[in-house]
Symmetry: C2
Subunit: 218 residues, 2 copies
DNA sequence: TCCAAATTTGAATGACTATTCTAAAATAGA
DNA sequence: TCTATTTTAGAATAGTCATTCAAATTTGGA
């Protein structure tokens, strides 16, 4: 959660307080949506839990949809930025893939509530995608997939990977990661999600049968 | 859809007609739930689309939940039986994995509507798992995962696969398959889903970098 | 053909909830 | 301190929808 104490003199106190409250509502809504799902969460609950009146919530967000889509959009956007940044810092395709996966694991390890919403959204697409914001979210999601596909294509081009269809490989790898996170959250394991990275990479690069991936220093 | 013409003299006409109508309602509901999602689908719509009155639907199913859970349960059960059967016919762990994946691809290729419901259900779990039927569904789902994990464990024991944690590998592989099917349905590709089997197997057994899987005759 | 039992219907019920409205409270400048 | 403006609260509104009900229809045997 953003810190109320992070003063930004350029914005003015009122604007800053307003931003902070807006963010507070989003955080409360995220928790509720994750716990009970979109339809089971009522505006009255969001109001109660954030200690605002109903109408106040509506002064921040035009509708329930908007709250949901906004929080989804803002965090998907953040994740995408983190992924892009991680790629820039890596050199080889293999390192880039490692970086992407590491970022995702770390991100969802720290944003469990958000994962439930993120993972579930693809179903709701039919209902919410007509909204402009819904389309934006879908585009971001596709962009994330494309980035991975490009890295794989690069690896194939460099002769580092076999000639697989890159887009399909991106889908498979994303699906693996998603399923792993899902299982991790559901089982409430103590172990860190990121600790699974070496096994995943070994599997992705060499498969069930292939040689063992030589571990580089962490 | 089951055939009204498949006479079963042991059951009697009334029983058979009733079964057929029950199945008809389930099929209609499946289509609607897949198209619009659980909450967006109303009982009135199900009644209209199946050409029954509201109250008639309620003579077949106690509630909307029950329709949803029943159709989910019956098809998951069918899929599980198909998977078990496929495994019995295969010899090596590698062949068993191939068989499992092939069965799943074929099944969802022929049951697209059902896939949307199946894939989405994991989120709804929170809401519907308190029902007895909901728990049963979850158990079936876990059983499917366990079967795959056992095959992998067998392969590791036989020295066929590397020493990976079997349960985690099962999760990764299931996630891959699920994502692939999801993408295939969304993109409405013409190509058969099962045509992707060789690539998937190559990836699972040898990874992005490893040697190419020697293709056996189909 | 006729009747009792079973089945079907869709309108009525009751509960729920997103959104709006009105009045009260807080705020900030003078 | 006073007052115009902004913000808040929560009750009222309006609509939706799962479920039930009372009446009508169909069924199958006599």
């Amino acid at each position: 959660m953003e810190n109320l104490n992070s003063h930004n003199m350029a914005l003015g106190r009122r604007k800053q307080e307003r931003n902070w409250r807006r963010q507070y509502i989003l955080n409360v809504a995220e928790r509720l949506f994750a716990q009970k799902g979109y339809y089971q969460t009522t505006m009255a609950e969001i109001a109660k839990a954030s200690e605002f009146g109903m109408a106040t919530i509506y002064r921040f967000f035009k509708s329930k949809d908007k709250i949901y889509l906004t929080l989804l959009h803002e965090k998907i956007d953040l994740l995408l930025r983190l992924v892009k940044q991680a790629i820039e810092e890596a050199q080889t395709p293999l390192e880039k893939i490692k970086a992407i996966i590491q970022v995702k694991l770390k991100f969802f390890q720290e944003n469990r509530d958000f994962f439930r919403i993120y993972a579930l959204h693809r179903q709701n697409i039919a209902v919410l995608v007509r909204e402009e914001l819904g389309k934006k979210i879908d585009r971001k999601y596709q962009e994330g997939l494309s980035i991975l596909a490009q890295v794989i294509e690069e690896g194939i081009f460099q002769g580092e990977f076999k000639k697989f269809p890159p887009k399909e490989m991106a889908v498979l790898i994303s699906g693996m990661i998603q399923a792993l996170i899902h299982e991790w959250i559901k089982s409430e394991e103590e172990v860190q999600l990121t600790s699974k990275l070496p096994v995943i990479l070994d599997f992705i690069f060499y498969g069930l049968k292939g040689e063992k991936l030589q571990r580089e220093g962490r």
